[in-house]
């Protein structure tokens, strides 16, 4: 009996020492420095959460893969060299947020306090980013928000959150312009959208814009995020006499909606949906995908080049779209979508800010971000520094449409005209 007691005590002591060791390691992370052959080297810790499970899994994984590709490329190229000879390298600390806002708050607090992350990257989606932004601001950490298009996050007075995506208020307005340019006689428009923070913000802004452009908004209604049967909405659209439908939400509902519109042969001439159409998997719908338009934050075909930067009087920074797309495909074996590009772009923007600041000091990097006005493979990056600090004001959406070429579904850029790879297929052929 006594021997067993001693054994248990001994085991407890060992377990205690191991735990203490682990705790010490965690507490010592954050910016770490060292001397390598006379050069000073610092490792910057970048924290973020990834939705490894839950409904944002697909888009979030692509975003994280894009970011990790950037980090790997920068570290393999020897890091960022500052003017005093300091080499800056990066390491990532990440957790699974399960696509849940409460996990995000808990994990970003951990990233800021226990992991001592120097900079943060947002989770995927506006809802989760809104939760992360509260924490990043509270702990004074700079957070690059990618995968989050909501405007409202940036109207709360935050000073350290910077948006990369075109905000929701400008997400679908280009589709209205496109419609006007291609079908000046079309007047009746329906908005059917997912009842989520992001989609509601997008369509509310697009509806106001459409009304100003003289359109008659005959239906404006949201659907629950778990909707699988759109029969009731399709009947309502038909009864309203709408000729064009704009809306959608995320991939699953958007692809289901498009498929059912096709199956029920809804007599509309134009269909533009959020998020789903730019995803390469959308083409699996076959003929139901034909003619469907979708706004995209980035497309490999979009013409953002050093020459375009020169013509616009902007600084060019980072790889070309083709280089990024090739590197992504080589590493992950799949085509890069805009979520992946957004993740990579977050790294590029942070890299440029550190170079401009010539430091990893948060205040100096923040000043560099505030001044930033550059063109990257992802598009124009410039942040609002006044009433809605951090809101993206440079970046513009491109609009894609699925068309058929030689019997194969291909994704064409159809708007804006200067970046278009094909004319808009109009009207829809069901």
């Amino acid at each position: 009996m006594r021997r067993t007691l001693y054994l248990l005590l001994g085991l407890l002591l060992i377990a205690g020492m191991v735990l203490a060791g682990c705790g010490g390691k965690s507490a010592s992370s954050g910016t770490t420095g060292g001397n390598t052959g006379g050069k000073k080297e610092v490792t910057v810790t970048i924290g973020f959460t990834e939705s490894q499970t839950g409904k944002y899994n697909v888009d979030s994984t692509a975003q994280t893969q894009g970011f990790k590709l950037w980090m790997e490329q920068v570290n393999n190229a020897g890091g960022i060299k500052l003017s005093d000879g300091t080499i800056v390298k990066f390491k990532a600390v990440s957790y699974d947020d399960e696509s849940k806002a409460d996990k995000v708050q808990q994990l970003y607090t951990r990233l800021a306090t226990e992991d001592k992350a120097d900079f943060l990257i947002s989770p995927y989606s506006s809802g989760l980013t809104a939760s992360a932004a509260v924490v990043s601001e509270q702990y004074g950490k700079i957070m690059l928000a990618t995968g989050a298009a909501s405007d409202s996050i940036f109207k709360k007075g935050y000073e350290r959150v910077y948006q990369l995506y075109t905000p929701a208020s400008r997400y679908l307005t280009g589709a209205v312009d496109m419609l006007k340019a291609n079908a000046p006689d079309l007047k009746k428009v329906a908005f059917v959208y997912e009842n989520s923070k992001f989609s509601t913000a997008v369509v509310t802004a697009a509806k106001e814009y459409a009304a100003k452009q003289g359109y008659d908004v005959v239906l404006f209604e949201g659907y629950d995020k778990d909707t699988t049967d759109f029969g009731a909405f399709i009947n309502k659209i038909q009864d309203s006499g709408a000729e064009a439908v704009l809306g959608g939400g995320h991939f699953q509902d958007g692809s289901t909606f498009a498929r059912q519109i096709f199956e029920k042969k809804l007599p509309i001439k134009f269909l533009a949906l959020l998020v789903a159409p730019p995803n390469p998997k959308f083409a699996e719908l076959g003929d139901a995908a034909l003619g469907v338009v979708g706004p995209s934050q980035w497309e490999a075909a979009a013409a953002y080049t050093p020459d375009a930067a020169k013509a616009a009087g902007l600084t060019w920074f980072g790889p070309s779209s083709a280089d990024f797309a090739k590197a992504y495909k080589d590493k992950y074996g799949e085509e890069a979508g805009y979520h992946a590009a957004g993740g990579y772009a977050a790294g590029v923007v942070l890299q440029k800010a550190i170079i401009d600041a010539d430091s990893v000091d948060a205040a100096k990097v923040k000043a560099a971000l505030d001044k930033m006005d550059l063109l990257t493979f992802f598009g124009h990056i410039k942040f609002n520094t006044s009433d809605a600090h951090g809101l993206q004001i440079g970046h513009e959406m491109v609009y894609i449409q699925w068309q058929k070429k030689d019997g194969k579904m291909v994704k064409e850029v159809v708007w804006p005209k200067e970046g278009a790879t094909a004319d808009l297929l109009f009207p829809l052929k069901h």
Binding site: T61, A232, N235, R259
Partner: protein
Amino acid sequence: MEAILRSLIDGLLLGFVYGIAAMGLTLIWGVMNVINLSHGSLISLGMFSLYFLFTGLGVHPYVAIVITAVLGLLLGMIIYAVAVHRIINAPHLSTLLATYSVNMIILGIGTAILTTSPYNVPFDLGSIKFAASVVPTTRLIAAIVAMLVAGGLYLFLQYSRLGRYIRAVTDNRDAAEIVGIPSAQILALSFGLGTMLAAISGALIATFFPFTILAGGAYELKSFVIGVLGGLGNPVGSLFGGLILGVIEGLVPLAMPTTWTPVLEFVLFVLILLVRPTGLFGGSE
């Protein structure tokens, strides 16, 4: 008038799918007083079974439904033996937790392997014009299959020896054992049949809706409402419960925003529980 007819047809077609999704849940509840919280994930497995049989092995979707049904029956009997049998006489909380655990295991493994990406069965039989409505053929076939399955289940329970055993165990398990009915095997068969119905409904849904591993959850929730409407323990009543729910979902949006539909459905759920707890179509108390 045309709009009402169109919405009514859509609602009825949806109702058949809801009905068959709920049948499995009510059968298991009726026979063994177990609320199967893994019902939704079993519906999802039915969806993926059809997907892989069709896209991976090239099996025709309607043949794949038969294979899925057999696989569902076997899986249900295994789940019963492993997770439910030992606690079948324990308080309800134990069986709730056991089936919830099975649910989490299926969803955990499913998410790890299949992710939560949407899958789509690239199968299209075109559409047919039916009265004022354009109806996808796959949905019409799903409604016919649902009716056949419900009819088959009714005949099986009423006229087959095993069906009579199941009803005997449902009515009084102790008395059934006294007359020599092997109640453990009958309970396993019932759980297997319930799982089979969940798998069939998942496979049918997969022929016309895209899905994820989490998609079954929404049908599980509807199944509770339908179960109460049709009478918990009355699987054939579920089909009628499903039709009522489908018609509500078809017609309500004509009069008010669609987001009000679930509110009305759950108000009805509470009202039925208060006024007629055995459901509109009877069932065991």
